[in-house]
Symmetry: C2
């Protein structure tokens, strides 16, 4: 008996069986759904249907839309988890902003993270549709947990505060790792945390209405 | 007598004559030289040679390498001129940072500027070589005049200060115009200048060594 070239894990009808077949089918269906309907428009139900699996299996393997998107985009971490961890586990002698910059810099040390960042940004610069998907994902996965951090300090204009934080962190990542502006590209994490941390603190909880410093 | 299909402004030997022919030849030669040798490596002399014109004509038409690069990249303004103007013509009741944010926001109102920004950024995300060219141009045309602004305040670590300003301004442009994170995308220029201006002021002349705000 030979397998006559058939891939392991596929049946004759094309329906995937087995663990890795189902996982691959889910990832491939989710890439198509995110590309077509954006982050907000895609649903676990429609991804499961396209993959020919039960929605419960998608939840079982990936735990939810954010994690599924991260897996589909080969993001090696879940942004909201990193932000929530940064908010909870910190040395109280360090300001929240400084701690967040240090956390982000250590996440960005990974070449995988930088590749995923660069790929998503390139797509967003090439297509409005991809930009919308990235915007929706960042809003859900990054701006929302950030806004809750701002909320703990002053309970006003938190979405604006969160998006200000995003402008600074995004520009820092782009300048340091992609465009490599000097000396930001080679500065130490401690130098950058000291310089940029107070910006993040002010955006999250400080005075953002006064034109005079 | 017919022109037998020959383009106006070209001689039989291929050497360009006439105003627009020479300008086009210079732009086309400069794009090739910048692409091959980067911003720092390309010279007016080599561009003139490739275009088959005298270097003096390149200076006459374009005034120097920065302006030539801006023309080749279809940048509708010269960054160093905008920065120098922002540094000199400002209402003394407004902080320098606030004024710079307001100036940048008004420059970015132009769709041409945003298109040029997006094109250069896309190239930089696609090729290390293009990223190096953009880095060299930004260093010369933006970071250098910015560092001289910082220098007027505190004469230390000015290159680091200028590159910090670049991280914030780049992230602001990307978040507001390309990724359109809300509410930064729809906030008024006055709101953004009030929120981000003090960041620019601190980066240029404030305390950037203290981890505590």
């Amino acid at each position: 008996v030979t397998w006559s070239g058939r891939r392991r894990g596929s049946t004759r009808t094309g329906r995937r069986v087995g663990d890795s077949g189902a996982r691959e089918a889910i990832l491939s269906a989710s890439r198509a759904q995110f590309a077509e309907h954006g982050y907000d428009g895609a649903t676990i139900r429609s991804i499961a249907r396209d993959a020919g699996v039960d929605p419960a299996l998608v939840h079982h393997y990936y735990g939810g839309k954010e994690k599924l998107f991260a897996a589909a985009m080969q993001l090696p971490f879940i942004p909201s988890e990193v932000i929530t961890a940064a908010l909870t586990h910190r040395d109280p002698s360090e300001s929240l902003g400084t701690h967040m910059v240090r956390t982000a810099l250590s996440v960005w040390e990974s070449a995988e993270v930088r590749d995923a960042f660069q790929t998503m940004l390139r797509s967003a610069l090439t297509s409005d549709h991809a930009a919308a998907t990235l915007r929706e994902f960042v809003t859900e996965s990054i701006l929302r947990p950030l806004a809750s951090a701002a909320d703990g300090g002053v309970a006003e204009r938190t979405p604006f505060r969160a998006s200000l934080v995003a402008t600074q962190m995004l520009g820092l990542a782009l300048s340091r790792y992609v465009l490599r502006f000097e000396p930001v590209a080679t500065a130490s994490a401690a130098e950058l945390a000291a310089a940029v941390g107070p910006t993040i603190d002010r955006y999250l909880t400080g005075d953002i209405d006064d034109a005079q410093p």
